[in-house]
């Protein structure tokens, strides 16, 4: 299905990432934004509020973040594509209902323009430290999809992609941007509606009396109906069976003996399986020069742009350095990292935190390749020199590190002294 021309504001713009994401959401057919302002995401909500009434979309400033995310779930059940935009501590406030949304299997997206944390942190400056929270912030087991754009153009494109994935897999999708991309102003091309592919909502088409809200298709995703369609659906955040009715007797798995005895199974495990078993279709990465690389720089979001300069410099000097950029941060491309780990000397992972994705890389490297973290406390981006120095350090090292090694940035060494690496354990 192609985008509705009414939703697409075709043109070439000079706008920041926040605004581009609002354009992207509208182009994807988003008709509802329940928001509560927080720096540095406000420009996105402002842009949406300004443009939306012309595309038949609605913006409401809710009384708080808890209200925002709850209204998004409600709007999505009423049949509209819905999202909220947030950052920092506001994202934390939404966790309970993200978990509920995952349990109810209702499609929605959250744009998180990450800022430096923890807590109130540095509101106006960048960070990438919500990556783990985006995956496991809410209580209980569930899987989500997270995307990380590295430019305003990608902000537009990934917003469309995020909605498509949410509708396709009936799950929350996080657009994990950051303050730098959010506030970076660049050329953004919004194509014509006929060039934008849209995933329509997977509405149920069978006979009305045979509808079961959580009866799954072979890909583990179930068709959906709208509130008010007359199906008399029972939707709950409690563990439930195919009918949606609570299964309180048997705990959390669909194959427990007791559940079998009652002939009622909770569908909880599918929340995880429907993403994990479809991960080949979901995962997107961008690789350059990894075929003959000795070192691969694994990065995402704004850090991948900063890393690019360091990689370029190293390659000019004759070092074999490749890049692997995560477009989907979650699910994580485990298989690919495993493959690479068998033949590279090591991975360098620059991220604006003190180690989140790097541990995923280390887990998949399985001790076969060195893993070096180039950390950053947030509020600004890395110095490319640090990433370059980490690449050199890794190439020159003779031994196998046992754990993730943390590269000590030029600034850190100036302040604290000592060598270039320290063992994380």
């Amino acid at each position: 299905m192609k985008a509705d021309p009414r939703d697409v504001f075709t043109g070439t713009y000079y706008i920041d990432g926040d605004v581009a994401m609002a354009y992207g959401a509208l182009a994807a057919g988003c008709k509802f934004l329940g928001g509560y302002p927080i720096t540095p995401s406000t420009e996105a909500a402002e842009a949406f509020a300004r443009i939306a009434p012309r595309a038949g979309a609605r913006f409401i400033q809710m009384e708080d973040e808890l209200g925002s995310i709850a209204s998004v779930l409600g709007a999505s059940w009423a049949g509209q594509k819905a999202m909220t935009i947030t950052s920092g501590p506001s994202y934390s406030l939404m966790m309970e209902n993200i978990s509920l949304g995952a349990a109810m299997e209702i499609p929605f997206i959250i744009i998180n323009i990450q800022r430096a944390g923890p807590s109130t942190g540095v509101p106006t400056c960048t960070g990438q430290a919500d990556v783990m929270q985006s995956r496991w912030g809410g209580n209980g087991d569930y899987e989500i999809i997270a995307l990380a754009p590295d430019s305003p153009q990608e902000g537009f494109e990934f917003a469309v992609k995020a909605f498509n994935l949410a509708e396709r897999y009936r799950c929350p999708v996080m657009l994990m941007s950051d303050e730098c991309v959010g506030h970076m102003t660049e050329k953004v091309v919004v194509p014509e509606a006929s060039k934008i592919d849209i995933e329509p909502r997977r509405f149920y088409k069978g006979p009305a009396d045979a509808y079961l809200p959580y009866k799954r298709d072979p890909d583990l995703v179930s068709p959906i109906v709208k509130a008010g369609d007359g199906y008399g659906i029972y939707i709950t955040g409690l563990s439930h069976d195919e009918k949606g009715h609570p299964v309180l007797e048997s705990g959390n798995s669909y194959d427990l003996e007791h559940a079998r005895a009652l002939n009622r199974k909770s569908t909880d495990q599918y929340l995880v399986d429907k993403i994990r078993k479809n991960r080949d279709k979901i995962i997107e990465i961008q690789e350059e020069n990894t075929e003959d690389a000795d070192v691969v720089v694994v990065s995402y979001g704004i850090s991948s742009r900063v890393a690019y300069r360091a990689v370029e410099q190293a390659r000019q000097e004759g070092y074999k350095v490749g890049t692997l950029r995560l477009i989907t941060v979650w699910p994580f491309p485990e298989e690919r990292i495993r493959e690479l780990a068998g033949r590279v000397k090591g991975f360098v992972v620059p991220e604006i935190n003190y180690g989140q994705i790097v541990f995923e890389v280390d887990r998949c490297a399985e001790g076969r390749a060195n893993v070096v973290l180039v950390p950053h406390g947030g509020a600004s981006v890395h110095q490319p020199e640090d990433i370059y120095a980490a690449i050199r350090q890794l190439l020159e090292s003779k031994k196998r590190y046992e754990n993730v090694f943390e590269f000590r940035t030029i600034l850190e060494r100036k302040v604290f002294g000592g060598g270039m690496l320290k063992n994380r354990s």
């Binding site: 012309r54 808890l66 709850a70 209204s71 409600g74 049949g79 309970e96 209902n97 029972y234």
Partner: protein, 239 residues
């Protein structure tokens, strides 16, 4: 069946708005088999977030009439109640009033009234005057009944379903063995100023229809304001 659900079912019938349009949004568990007989959609959300959930539903599809059954705001979500009244969202809010934590809201079976687990040494806290809060925050229809005022409650629910804007019905719903006690100790005073409807010890519980007024709903105001500013460019919310 739970007294409130029973009245809701009859109220929907009486109002004639059609079961398809009614979506029940709650934060407690209801028996799915009872809901099946009601033939309405039910959304059991996270605790205290019923009103914003219903707000999102209403804005996304204004043809729906979400009905919220919530506790008496002693739990979570009081702020949402205040703002829904202020906006005059087109919802019907039914408060299952059990006087601040005296039992889990909506439970039709009961425990020992005086010694619930969170207050093993009896109770000393004062209940909220819900009709008064609703009125001062901007609701357009406010009533209170005990759960045994079945006919009156049905009538109020039917009225609230048809009324445009935020209607609040405070239902005194103590454990089953005390229903009769509260029913007997209530006094009907329709049109009473809500300043006098506080629930106090040793005094009668004032019930009745307290408030009926007209205010533009959120969607009406939204349409009017944006049409004024944007003119032809504005895509109106169809009600």
């Amino acid at each position: 069946m739970d007294k409130i659900l029973e009245a809701l079912s009859k109220g929907i019938e009486k109002s004639g708005i059609g079961r398809k349009r009614v979506c029940l949004v709650t934060d407690i568990l209801y028996d799915p088999e009872v809901l099946e007989t009601l033939k309405i959609d039910l959304f059991h959300t996270s605790r205290g977030r019923t009103i914003p959930f219903a707000t999102g539903m209403k804005l996304a599809n204004p043809k729906l009439k979400p009905v919220v059954i919530m506790g008496d705001m002693a739990t979570l979500g009081g702020n949402h109640f205040v703002h829904a009244c202020r906006r005059n969202m087109d919802l019907l809010v039914i408060c299952a009033n059990h006087f601040v934590y005296r039992r889990v809201e909506g439970e039709s079976a009961s425990g020992d009234y005086d010694t619930v687990s969170y207050s093993p040494y009896l109770l000393f806290e004062n209940p909220l005057n819900i009709p008064h809060i609703a009125r001062s925050c901007g609701s357009v229809y406010t009533a209170r009944w005990t759960a045994l005022h079945t006919d009156e409650l049905t009538r109020s629910i039917s009225h609230g379903l048809k009324k445009k804007g935020l209607s609040v019905i405070d239902v005194i719903s103590p454990p089953a063995e005390l229903l009769d006690f509260y029913y007997r100790h209530s006094e009907i005073r329709n049109g009473e100023d809500t300043i006098h409807t506080g629930i106090e010890e040793e005094k009668k519980i004032i019930v009745g229809e307290f408030l009926e007024r007209e205010r533009p709903t959120f969607i009406e105001s939204y349409n009017r304001q944006l049409e004024e500013v944007l003119g032809d460019q504005f895509v109106k919310i169809e009600v």
